[in-house]
Each structure stands twice: as structure tokens, then as C-alpha cells.
């Protein structure tokens, strides 16, 4: 094995890849500040009129609101179910538990469009098409893998004897869960929650399939807007989405850094 030399060529390649990954996402920022009434880069000065539209137009506001409600509730469901599932599998530690864990990851593997199609057929029967509850449930299921994965990772460092210790000291199963297991996997639960939230926040395919004509989340509004007109407000919405996601990710990074500092200082 030989170490990779940091030559000019490899550095340039690295920066190119990075730009290719990041720049398309950030092109919406200047576009959102354009003075024209169509999608373009600002040429004669900047204007915040499209941002104003975003926060005054009732359609966009209700989109933001719907997205927030759906993301929050579906995340709560995914976190509760995913955490309990991961802890249960960890406690059992059998082959069946391993299989259950694999099944939980399945929503991540199945193409969303296939999954959405299946859900649509089911929801027609259940009369859930076009309801907020329907989208929340679907997002809770597709958000589940993130929680199961992160909590399982946290649990892998945990001594299985902790549960026995807690119970021998007088804690029943719910007390053991609440006072010993969950506090120790909290970082994993938080990471999972953030991923599940972001997943629901920018999910489009499922909403298109089962949102019917009643539900317009932010991504759905953008999709319809792009098809029907070229209003630069869409760029403002996109910028807002990116900013929001960045904030959430930074919070998670901050939490992780704080935790590592505490652990590092402790060792």
C-alpha cells in the first residue's frame, strides 16, 4: 500500500467533484433575488419581492404549514416506533431480531415510486387518498429506517447487562427503558429524528401519488409551479428549504460536537 500524494491534479479533481455536488443546490439563491418576473439570474440589482411573495401568499404559507405538520408528526411516529423496534431487536439478539431489523431497512431499498404505487392502491381501499393522515403514515414508514439505523448504531456500544443491572436494582421494564436504555441511545434517537424529519420535509413522490387534489406540501407546490409557470418565488422556496435543512443539520453537528467534547474531556 502506498499513500496518495496530494498533487495539484487530485486537489483540482476533488474541488470539481465538490462543486458539482454543491453548486447546483446554491444556484437558487441568486435566482431568488432576481428583479424579473421569470426565472433568471439577477442582472439589474437585487430584489426581495419573491421572498415577500413566499411569506405573504396564502398558498405558499399553507404549503409551509402542511409540510411542517406532516414532517413533525411523521417524525414523532417514526422515532417512537423505530426506537422501540431497535431496542427490542437489541434485547432479543436472535436471528429473528436480525431479520426484523433487515425488514425495517426495506423502505430505504424499495424505489419510492414503487412503494408509492403500492401505498396508493392500499389507500384507495382505506379511503386515505388525499388525507393528511395518509401522508403522515406513509412518511412515518419511510422515515423509520433512519431511526432504526441510528438507534441500532448507538445500541451497539451499550452493554446488554445494563438492563439486567437496572432490573436487579428494582427498576421494572418501563423504568429501565426510560431511565437507562433511552438516555444512553439519545444521540442516536436525535440523529434519526433529524434524518426522518428532513426526509419527510422534502419528499415529493409519495405526496404526488397520495396527496390527491387536497394536499400541497412545499415540494408539491414547487413541482406544480415549475410545470405551470416560471415564478422566481420557486427559487425563494427552494432557498428556504435548503436553509432550513442546513440549520437542522448544523444543529445535529453541533450536538454531536458537544457530545464528543464532553466524552473526550471525560476520558
Amino acid at each position: 500500500m502506498h499513500t496518495l500524494k496530494r498533487s495539484g491534479a487530485t486537489l483540482a479533481l476533488a474541488w470539481m467533484v465538490l462543486s458539482f455536488l454543491l453548486l447546483p443546490a446554491f444556484v437558487v439563491f441568486p435566482v431568488s433575488l432576481t428583479t424579473t418576473r421569470y426565472l433568471s439570474l439577477p442582472r439589474d440589482g437585487v430584489s426581495f419581492q419573491h421572498w415577500r411573495t413566499l411569506f405573504t401568499d396564502p398558498a405558499w404559507m399553507s404549503g409551509i404549514w402542511e409540510s411542517l405538520v406532516i414532517a413533525t408528526v411523521s417524525t414523532a411516529i417514526a422515532v417512537a416506533a423505530g426506537t422501540l423496534c431497535a431496542i427490542g431487536c437489541w434485547r432479543l439478539g436472535t436471528r429473528v431480531a436480525e431479520q426484523v431489523r433487515a425488514a425495517m431497512i426495506l423502505p430505504l431499498m424499495v424505489p419510492t415510486i414503487v412503494y408509492a404505487l403500492g401505498i396508493y392502491r392500499l389507500y384507495v381501499e382505506l379511503d386515505l387518498v388525499g388525507t393528511m393522515l395518509g401522508v403522515i403514515l406513509a412518511h412515518a414508514v419511510t422515515g423509520l429506517p433512519y431511526v432504526v439505523l441510528t438507534v441500532t448504531a448507538s445500541l451497539s456500544n451499550l452493554d446488554p447487562a445494563l438492563e439486567k443491572a437496572a432490573r436487579s436494582l428494582g427498576a421494572n421494564v418501563p423504568q429501565t427503558l426510560a431511565r437507562v436504555i433511552v438516555p444512553n441511545v439519545l444521540p442516536g434517537v436525535l440523529s434519526g429524528a433529524i434524518f426522518a424529519f428532513i426526509h419527510s420535509w422534502d419528499e415529493l413522490v409519495i405526496v404526488i401519488f397520495i396527496g390527491g387534489r387536497a394536499l400541497f406540501t412545499l415540494p408539491r407546490l414547487m413541482w406544480d409551479g415549475i410545470n405551470e409557470n416560471l415564478d422566481p418565488a420557486i427559487a425563494a422556496v427552494a432557498s428556504a428549504l435548503i436553509l432550513f435543512t442546513l440549520v437542522v443539520l448544523l444543529v445535529e453537528l453541533g450536538l454531536r460536537a458537544r457530545r464528543e467534547r464532553r466524552d473526550g474531556g471525560a476520558a
Binding site: 439486567k164 436487579s168 436494582l169 427498576a171 421494572n172
Partner: protein
């Protein structure tokens, strides 16, 4: 009428019981029987050790006592009351684990306070009891550390404090010292012995380390293949093992095949049926009169080395095949006339037997113990 009387007598017996009683416990994992008809009494305040190799069922028995495993048949009772169906958290048994199992998110003091919080003990009393427990295990001053900030030995002390702070009815210890290095283990053994003396609490201790078991315990139960092989105080177990397994597991031993006959509880070896110059007589209670073969066990340190032909009594003649020098002791292997080896452990008095020399071994009177499965 008689039936009623019988049942009544049974419960009266159980009501009079004190301490923990393991009563004919059977336990299966699937079709594998891991505990076979195990019975054991643990009197209040005793230090009882379950000793056996891995897979002997000793840990399973401890988990049954703790309530983490259900017994298949039989019963476990504390002061005459059955523990069947009682979950671990309701048993009030302190427990110490091999990996310490301290809660990583809580400080030392919070770990020890945990069982008191669960029991709703008020803050002032909680703090004073945590302080008392900390000083009991000599850990004052480290109350605010997190478990990962203290050493393994210290963690085990905290685990001990946490397991005794709520005044449990019994303390269960599952190989608590096996993760520690040698020096620390010796120190913690002393510590456990001291704690047991101060606490008036029954300790049930699981280990595979025979020296640890002999040093710590009032009573040792030796298990193998899910069966209790022998129960007794360390001295009895060591000097009078009942079978080959105990003789081999607890210390080293010479096994000698003898043939002869039993006459009213005394075994008399035939002159041709033993390697001894004078055929030995052994107490063999419970054996039927008549011709019989048996295996006798002898501990290597219960013998002296003498010059050929010197000394009387239980004497074996042979040639010195090997001498191992251990400083305080010498381990001498003798080859007997029939080609079998006989081991003698001698205190080093400065005289080294030489390989190839003829020698006579004089066995201490009473040091030959007949084994049940011989």
C-alpha cells in the same frame, strides 16, 4: 386426613425455612437440560460459591435465582416463600456483573443512588446512604466522576456499592473479578471478604476460579453438566472429594486404582491389587461387603519423600522421573513399578532430589480418599 396432615407438614417445614433454598430445580434450553435436579441451601449470612467450568450451569442457576430465567421444575424459596413468577425487580437481590454494568450516563453517586430513587427514598436520606455506601467500598471522593473516568477496579467497587446500598436480601455476584488483572483480583478478593464480614448478608458467588472459591467461601457447590457434584466447606471439599470430577477440578490429585474387598465398611486392599508396600485399609462407608475395585484420591502435598526402604505405613517405591523447581515448592514426579506416575509437592528445604534416584514416598495417614465413581 392423612393427606391433609402431610400437606400441612410440608408447608410448616417451608415456613420454618430460613435463607435461600434451591429445591430440585430443573431447567431446559430447548431440549438441552442445563440444570438437572439441583438442590442447595444458602443459610442467611453465608458466603456460598457456585463453582464449575463453563457450561456447567452455574451462571444459569444464578440467573434463575435472580429471576432472569424461569425454572422449569422445582422451586426457589427465600425464607420459605416461593420466588416463582416474581420478576427480578421485585426480588430485592443486589447483583454484581462481570462487566460491572454501571450506567454510563450517570455519575458514580447517581449510579449508587439509582436503586434508592426507584424506591422513592427522599433526597436527604438518599445522599447519606450513598455516602455511606461509597465509604464502605473506600471510594469517597470519586462521587462525581463518570464510570468511564475511573479504573476497572474502581468501577467494580462502585458496582458493589450500588448493589448493597438498598440493603438487598441477598447479594448475587456473577464472576465479578474475572475482568480484573491478577494483582487487582487479589485485592478485590480481600475487599469482598471484608465486606461480607461487615454486612451480615448472604453472598452467592459464581466463579470458575477454584482458588478464589476456596479463599472466599463458607460453602462451595461444585457443578458440572448441570448437576451438583459436591457441596461443602472448602476444607472438606479439598480433602475429601467425592468423585473424579471434584478431585480433578479442585486442585491436583493422584488417582490410585485399588482392588480388594470390603468388610463391614472398611476396604482392605489385596497385596497384589495395590502399588503399596503394605496394602492400605480405607474407610469405605456405604459399600456392600465383598470383593471390590475402587479409585482413591490423594493430594500431592500430603506426602513426604524418604530414602528407599525408610519409613513405614502408606509407602510407595519408585524412581524420580522429574523435578520441577517452583521456589517455595518442588513438584516431584515419581515413576512407580507399574509405570504409572505419582506426583508429590514438597516444601523447598534446600535439598533437591535428583532425577533417576530411587526414592520412597510416605503418604500421610488418612490422605487416601476413596471416590464414589471409582
Amino acid at each position: 386426613m392423612d393427606m391433609n396432615l402431610g400437606a400441612g407438614a410440608g408447608t410448616a417445614d417451608q415456613a420454618a425455612e430460613t435463607g435461600l433454598v434451591v429445591d430440585r430445580v430443573v431447567k431446559h434450553y430447548g431440549r438441552v437440560e442445563v440444570l438437572h435436579d439441583v438442590s442447595l441451601g444458602i443459610e442467611p449470612g453465608r458466603f456460598v460459591t457456585l463453582l464449575g467450568p463453563s457450561g456447567s450451569g452455574k451462571s444459569t442457576l444464578l440467573m434463575c435465582i435472580a429471576g432472569f430465567e424461569e425454572v422449569g421444575a422445582g422451586d426457589i424459596r427465600l425464607d420459605g416463600r416461593s420466588l416463582r413468577g416474581l420478576p427480578p425487580e421485585k426480588r430485592d437481590f443486589g447483583m454484581v456483573f462481570q462487566g460491572y454494568a454501571l450506567f454510563p450516563h450517570l455519575t458514580v453517586a447517581e449510579n449508587i443512588a439509582f436503586p434508592l430513587r426507584i424506591r422513592g427514598v427522599g433526597r436527604a436520606e438518599r445522599e447519606s446512604r450513598v455516602r455511606a455506601a461509597l465509604s464502605m467500598v473506600r471510594m469517597d471522593g470519586l462521587a462525581d466522576r463518570l464510570p468511564r473516568q475511573i479504573s476497572g477496579g474502581q468501577q467494580q467497587r462502585v458496582a458493589l456499592a450500588r448493589a448493597i446500598v438498598f440493603e438487598p436480601r441477598v447479594l448475587l455476584l456473577d464472576e465479578p473479578l474475572s475482568a480484573l488483572d491478577r494483582g487487582l483480583r487479589a485485592e478485590m478478593q480481600e475487599e469482598l471478604k471484608r465486606l461480607h464480614g461487615e454486612l451480615a448478608l448472604s453472598f452467592i458467588y459464581v466463579t470458575h476460579d477454584q482458588e478464589e472459591a476456596l479463599f472466599l467461601s463458607d460453602k462451595v457447590a461444585i457443578l458440572n453438566f448441570g448437576r451438583i457434584q459436591q457441596v461443602g466447606d472448602p476444607a472438606t471439599l479439598y480433602s475429601r472429594p467425592v468423585n473424579r470430577f471434584v478431585a480433578g477440578f479442585l486442585g491436583r490429585s493422584n488417582l490410585i486404582e485399588l482392588s480388594g474387598r470390603v468388610i463391614s465398611g472398611v476396604f482392605i486392599a489385596d497385596p497384589a491389587g495395590s502399588p503399596f508396600a503394605v496394602p492400605p485399609r480405607l474407610e469405605a462407608p456405604g459399600r456392600d461387603d465383598g470383593p471390590c475395585r475402587l479409585t482413591a484420591c490423594h493430594r500431592p502435598e500430603r506426602a513426604q519423600l524418604a530414602a528407599p526402604g525408610e519409613g513405614e505405613g502408606l509407602a510407595l517405591d519408585g524412581e524420580i522421573a522429574q523435578v520441577a523447581y517452583h521456589g517455595t515448592t518442588l513438584e516431584v514426579a515419581l515413576r512407580l513399578a507399574d509405570g504409572s506416575a505419582f506426583h508429590v509437592s514438597l516444601l523447598n528445604r534446600g535439598v533437591l532430589p535428583q532425577r533417576g534416584e530411587r526414592a520412597r514416598v510416605l503418604l500421610d495417614p488418612g490422605s487416601l480418599v476413596p471416590l464414589a465413581d471409582g
